[in-house]
Symmetry: C2
């Protein structure tokens, strides 16, 4: 059996009682912290709470899913992930592979940046279009897809949640993210994301001291948002209550 | 001070350690269960865990926010809500009102149907467009907006999460929801939601026995999805992995 356990957003206190109970009841615990990560705690602290070791898997091993699936044939395996479970494609891949092998599966949900970022900023979650992710430019290559997603969402008046690349130990800052979008703008010139675009930055969601800032890109670029993780929100058409909410963060 | 506490999806075990700690530390606890509700537990059970009474507020009182704000001037007030905090507009209204009055605010996040429904179905969360809500028809009046949202999302290949009306003690079933959309289709005739449209139904997300079903509307209409809450997903363009995931639930 495999239980996919969402640990929530920030530290060990973000975990639900169910997550803790399930993890304690497993024979073997795996974790992956490369699609997301809890910045307020460590695998060691989680091991103390669960009373058993956690094997943190590198990307290749999660993608093959081999050890997890092998163990799950005879044992109760827990697969720990930050945020809600199943938000990363590879988690679904493992689940489907398990089903094929006749292995029972279960999902334990955790709090997620998808709703947390909107809530912290004070924006209405139902007004968000699809989310997008920025990656660190590789040899100058900048994929346009995030720009396209923002553009399509704006056309429908929708907000866009923009995830920033996670390549441990490198975590893209909102400043780097803004620069990536400005660079795409330079190429595309459709005035989707300029120095004057107003956006929101949310840092350390789920922690005791989350930071939200709202303003023009040129002003936000000067700020230091502190420790990761950061996300950005490019707002679409704003309801006056949303406008009022964002004004708090100037 | 007001702490907005998201309780998560289903029962007392859905709560995070932080939610419990914060609720225990409050002088006064309010709750609202009309925008969403925990079906696996009761206010009484939560009171036992927190060791103090919870005043469950009717819609009018939440909308005015009066008692909460009055109490929060001198006391530590906790406002308990199902799912993640701040997903309902009224919660943001109270927060903004509190800020105006100089009252400190804090948000404690919980697991939410937004990510849980996608995860349970095996669909990729980043492929969801904006969500929509169906309401019980009143005197034959059927607002078209949910149909428009689904239509726009489909045009962009995106999935749509469809919430179903909550009017305690009435909770719209997926069957009723499908009928509402079929009735709008009859009027609009744009072939957005027909008997042959394939959709997914997710019931009791966050419980030990969530149910997911995927199939044509005409077949799903014959099924009993059991106790609330139900949500529906109208899928857009499917990645082959998503197709594979949905095939599990036929």
């Amino acid at each position: 059996m495999i239980t996919f356990i969402g640990l929530g957003l920030w530290d060990e206190k973000s975990m639900s009682l169910e997550a803790i109970e399930e993890a304690k009841g497993c024979d073997k615990l795996y974790a992956e912290f490369y699609t997301s990560k809890l910045f307020g705690t460590t695998a060691k602290k989680l091991e103390e709470i669960f009373g058993k070791p956690i094997e943190v898997l590198p990307r290749e091993e999660v993608e093959s899913g081999k050890n997890i699936l092998e163990d799950a044939k005879g044992k109760k395996v827990g697969f720990l992930v930050a945020g809600d479970a199943m938000t990363a494609t590879t988690h679904v891949d493992i689940l489907l592979e398990a089903k094929k092998l006749g292995i029972e599966t279960k999902i334990v949900h955790g709090s997620s940046i998808y709703t947390a970022a909107a809530g912290l900023a004070g924006l209405q979650i139902y007004k968000f279009g699809r989310a997008t992710s920025l990656t660190f430019p590789q040899e100058g290559f900048l994929p346009d897809s995030p720009y396209n997603v923002i553009s399509e969402n704006l056309r429908g008046g929708m907000h866009t949640l923009v995830f920033l690349d996670i390549q441990p130990p490198k975590y893209m800052t909102a400043n780097e993210g803004m620069q990536v979008l400005l660079d795409i703008e330079k190429k595309r010139k459709e005035d989707i994301f300029s120095q004057d675009t107003k956006i929101a930055v949310v840092a350390r969601a789920g922690s005791d001291k989350p930071l939200v800032k709202f303003g023009k890109v040129k002003d936000l670029l000067q700020l230091d948002f502190g420790e990761p993780l950061h996300v950005m929100i490019v707002p679409g058409r704003l309801h006056f209550k949303e406008e009022e909410a964002l004004q708090q963060w100037k």
